[in-house]
Amino acid sequence: MSDFRAMLASPHFNVSESFFPNINLQDGLNWAEEFIQNVVLPRLPEAVASHFPVELGTVLVMFACAGIFVGVFPLLPLVLVLAERKVSARFQNRTGPMRVGPWGVLQTLADGVKLLFKEDYIPPQGDRFLFLLAPYVIFACSFAVFAAIPFSQSILVSDFNIGIFYIMAISSVIVMGVIMAGWSSNSKWSLLGSLRSAAQIVSYEIPLGLSILTIVMLVESLSMSEIVASQSNGIFSWLIFRTPFTFIAFFIFFISSIAEVNRTPFDLPEAESEIVAGFHTEYSGMRFALFFIAEYANMFAVSAIAVTLFLGGWEGVLPGYDILGGFPGFVIKSLGLVFLMMWLRWTLPRLRVDQLMNLCWKYFIPIAFFNILGTGIWGLIFPEDTLISTSISCAIIYIGLIAAYKVAGRTLAQRPAPQPS
């Protein structure tokens, strides 16, 4: 039992940022146990009190923590949905929602209330049980990912020693929810959408995992907090600049992540112009809102993972200073990547299925394997991360970027301009 206590203690939740009160999960557990010992037990009959499971209190506290977590986090998608609408409006020279609240900031809240009151339609020919279950599977999995993300030195729910591997495992379950939703709706659009989604996610998981592997090779640990700790010496110790190969791996990781969360240009599973809304066509009201919230939570989650793995996590730009560091820095960096995703969505057209698969299997996977080989050789040449290795790496990245720019420019210049047909 004492070991279990230790296990509970390791998910430390002591939020010691200046503007947060000091909360510690261990304190919470002790408090709950004292509460049961001093308040609950004396009020119970003797026969019941002697058999009362005190450990139940710890479970209740854990549930309470999870409840707070799940209660607070949908606020984030609430903000992101509004941001998406505003960003898309700016890209299309519109103003976006302006009526509800100042500059329309309360629009998502109004939409949320509207969704709550909508009819909860369940297709009578579908599979009722799985139809009802599917949104919860997706919702639970996308929020379970947050348990392993270190938001700052002290704000992390649990410091698994297999952190990044756990995240991969949990996010690979999301596709089961998508298939469940698509199949149980008993609709052609839904089934097509879920099949596309399954094919896409299973394919893009490979370059995603291989890109993560380059990081794991350099850090020699799967733990998220150790990955962050290895990037503590300012911007040039961030893993993206550590070797030229991790620089490539970052882009493969980020693009594959966009494919994993089914966003444009990889939004084939929910392509509006082809299959209505893909796997969640038949959902309405609050169940639809769950999919929506999960999608935006996923967007933030993959951005946060990218920041943790490649962009220094909660470590700042300068060693010893908190510029772009700590909890605010982490959130700013993650939201930057979320903005990049929105930017891509409103700029690029959707890929065709064959282009999608070609990109993954013919380009990303070979390049990712090359990255692993390169990272291994780099690790043999520079066993320690020194000033010299970082300078060489940055120089290679700089030269590579300029060369890529020149080559791309020349290729584009040689291509004949498209003629209107």
């Binding site: 004492s2 070991d3 058999h51 479970v59 020693n161 379950v173 596709v175």
Partner: protein, 173 residues
């Protein structure tokens, strides 16, 4: 039996695994069976966590739920319109299946009976070291290097075979 949190969670996972496994073998609808199998695999992953085999638990979820189960469902959805099916079982199959199950049961019972003392790893408060590093050592730098390489070659062959089967026929006319 003493009621502790550990016991409670352990029996919860065990119940989850067994109940969903029963559903897998008894239910007629293939898709329901597949989703029930997901719960079974999760339960087994939970039991792995209890054995402090965290790496194995995550691998279980990634490989079986994220990979194999998705492929099963993919196959079911792409091929069959009929999901409810009565599977006819020949008497010979029944006999063979029963025999194999009986042998497995005997084997497991022997193992359980011959284990002298069931020891709870977490009772004496020692925490086992993380398994990831040791698994890596054993596979890449230890006695399991050769099997590992053989398996990887096997997978490569399977990959090439799959690509060969599924590629488009190029007709030269």
């Amino acid at each position: 039996m003493e009621f502790t949190l550990t016991n409670f969670i352990f029996y919860g996972f065990a119940l989850m695994t067994i109940a969903s496994a029963l559903v897998v073998v008894t239910v007629r609808n293939i898709v329901h069976a597949a989703f029930s199998l997901m719960v079974t695999l999760f339960g087994v992953a939970g039991l792995y966590v209890f054995l402090q085999a965290d790496f194995l638990a995550a691998t279980q979820v990634i490989v079986y739920v994220g990979g194999i189960l998705v492929l099963i469902l993919f196959g079911v959805m792409m091929t069959s319109g009929r999901l409810e099916m009565r599977i006819h079982i020949e008497r010979g199959q029944l006999l063979l299946g029963g025999l194999i199950s009986l042998m497995l049961l005997m084997l497991l019972l022997t193992v359980i009976a011959n284990t002298p003392a069931w020891k709870n790893l977490t009772d004496d408060g020692t925490e086992l070291p993380p398994t990831t590093e040791r698994i890596g050592e054993l596979i890449l730098n230890g006695p399991f290097l050769l099997p590992f390489e053989v398996v990887s070659v096997l997978l490569l062959v399977a990959l090439i075979g799959a690509a060969l089967i599924s590629r488009k026929e190029v007709r030269d006319e």
